[in-house]
Subunit: 248 residues, 2 copies
DNA sequence: GTGCCGGAGTTGGCTGTACAACTTGGTCCA
DNA sequence: TGGACCAAGTTGTACAGCCAACTCCGGCAC
């Protein structure tokens, strides 16, 4: 049923997810009681609850005291890795990702950059500017600021490297948490030239700060997408909320 | 420490949240071990772990096997209610919300609308168009589709009712889960007239489908914000992902 | 100095139990 | 007919315990 070596509750969650996705329980239907599921999978009720918490967070099932869980439908959530990496995301939807490094250089970070990366003002950072494509069509401009430690590694990558995230992970850099802010921003002259749109065109902007498990920022990125190329979806519920709306 | 009658783990979570927000542990610092926290609060380790799971989902702390938890910083997450309701959100940031119903009418839903609300094609729905303001300045156009059952209630609300969500809740309508999709969309003639911007202006669009605990859709809303008025923030991690990026 | 190794400390995973809070459906009574 | 009430079923909360997997640091050998 599940992958050997993975936690039992993840195997159960994966099996339930597949059962829901293939419609075995039907959208709007009820899931079996936790006790029945526990017996069926040969695990304790606690383990089943752990599995169901995963599906709950993905928005696949509801849960309410006193009544059986309701199936909401197949979830549309991606793994953390697919969200972080344009390359992985593109591949997961069957597109051919591309990347071209336009500029990469060390510099003294401005106060805002250093604050985002948790560095002393004036610390050295690496500024990377890349043009990202899907099937060779430009869709996004990526401006990433790395702390010196990481940037030095990126500096060694080939100019036409498709992915930066993957080789960084191979080098032992861990990405575990990210904050994304989504709004829109007009294209500046550089954006316009690289994306092939008129200056001032409103672009969908995603700013992202990524940290490693010790809480140290490893990346501060600003991605600008051409209109109509991407949309972002978030699920939340009374049980778990990770979404925030603020004044722009 | 906490509110009487609330679950113990929520009280512990609230106390830890406050401790982190007020800087008692310092950003980047370490949390005490689960066992120590359990002893301090006089609860079992399981309860402490439940509390920490809440903070983990909010992006306030990391967690990794083998080492103590790291404090990431004060979270910026809002309650589900504040996300759902423009009115509640505005009040929570100290702004004065306003709403004016421009149009409300029953109609035969088109196939897309009925699909979103889980209704038979051609079922009766209520289309509501509202202009939302902050401190009397127009910032957003809200187009909401309600199923007949809910729409009939909304039809009775005053035209200048600030909130629709709150009176619906008072009438026993429960909102528990929502899927948000964020992208941009050009202002049509109506948007432009109401918001006072040129037609074709790129607006930040949030589409939202909300369901009750039994999985029945209660609302399908499309909100269009003037540029620069709002931004959306999402936190996710390897542990919990509720965010999705898709082709627009 | 450098690198290997081991042990203490810590979180992840799983089990089992017990009770509380809530939903639901049916029964009974006015 | 309608409403109050009860009982069964189900999830939420909490406790206690055990072991595995992992991190981290210090000691030790080279």
């Amino acid at each position: 049923m599940g992958v050997q070596g993975e936690a039992r509750y993840r195997q159960v969650a994966a099996d339930l997810r597949e059962a829901i996705t293939t419609g075995r329980y039907g959208s709007g239907g009820r899931l079996p009681a936790e006790g029945d599921l526990a017996q069926h999978y040969g695990v304790s009720r606690g383990t089943v609850r752990q599995a169901l918490a995963v599906l709950r967070a993905d928005g696949m099932v509801t849960s309410r005291r006193g009544t059986r869980r309701v199936v909401l439908g197949a979830a549309r959530t991606q793994s953390f890795a697919e969200l972080l990496s344009f390359t992985r995301w593109a591949r997961s939807i069957g597109e051919e990702p591309g990347g071209r490094t336009v500029a990469i250089e060390p510099a003294a970070g401005d106060p805002g950059e250093c604050a985002q990366l948790g560095l002393e003002p004036g610390s050295t950072v690496f500024r990377v500017l890349r043009l990202r494509t899907l099937s060779r069509v430009p869709v996004m401009i990526e401006r990433t600021i790395y702390p010196e430690r990481i940037g030095a590694l990126v500096h060694g990558f080939p100019i036409d490297a498709v992915s930066h995230t993957e080789p960084l992970e191979d080098l032992g850099v861990l990405f575990t948490d990210a904050d994304h802010t989504i709004d829109q921003w007009p294209a500046d002259a550089e954006d316009a030239r690289l994306l092939g749109c008129p200056p001032g065109t409103s672009l969908l902007r995603e700013r992202r700060r990524t940290t490693d498990p010790t809480g140290v920022p490893v990346e501060w990125s600003q991605d600008r997408y051409l209109p109509g190329t991407v949309a972002f979806t978030v699920h939340n519920s009374v049980a778990t909320t990770a979404l925030y709306r603020r004044r722009g």
